[in-house]
Subunit: 125 residues, 2 copies
């Protein structure tokens, strides 16, 4: 059966009924979070949909791996590294990160960065 994860906006803190927040931390950053919105728990095996929240002053992990990412910026502005390039993104922007490309998101300004991130179902994360 189809299902709905209902959004709960707790004053800018995105939450969804029935979806636990997981800690998302890097070596030197605390306070990030990750929600797996669609994945094996929902019977969704061909792709996964996750939401990441990176606090102001933080950053996502600098990563490079075989699977690709599709990203949709929901809130906040960020600097994004794509390979050797640096760009800025804002809400509504769509980012494609192919496999085996270094990438990292760093919020700009005082607002937390929030984005949806899609990975293939075979990704380990």
């Amino acid at each position: 059966m189809g299902m709905i994860h209902r959004f709960v906006d707790k004053g800018g803190e995105y939450e969804w009924e029935g979806v636990p927040a997981k800690r998302y931390e890097t070596g030197d950053m605390k306070g990030g979070s990750k929600h797996v919105l669609l994945g094996p728990n929902e019977g969704c095996n061909n792709f996964r949909l996750r939401y990441f929240r990176i606090p102001a002053g933080g950053h996502s992990r600098l990563e490079e791996h075989a699977h690709e990412h599709g990203v949709y910026i929901l809130h906040g502005r960020a600097q994004v590294r794509l390979g050797d390039e640096i760009a800025e993104v804002k809400p509504g922007d769509v980012v494609y990160i192919p496999g085996n490309e270094w990438h990292q998101f760093t919020p700009l300004g005082e607002e937390a960065l929030g984005f949806l991130c899609i990975v293939p179902g075979h990704a380990s994360d």
Copy 2:
């Protein structure tokens, strides 16, 4: 190389630089549109990310097919049919539609419905 489709908000009409709007119509509805944000054109073959805009008074196609959908509501409220069930959704809600389940979105009120829709790369659409 990674890439960015920059969002352009034309007063509620969502557009992205470099992404053409395609007409999305059903037998009795005009004025809908579809943007393929990530797919083969971007080298993204394991999943596709699309944006659909359904005008007030319209509806998406009543469909049933083998591939699943992941949906994230961006704007507007809607009634959604999931198999034999009817529910309401609002911005931020996440909907999972498994394969082989009848589904349809019908905007409620005066606002157009806009949503992101993810399908596996092997889906024909």
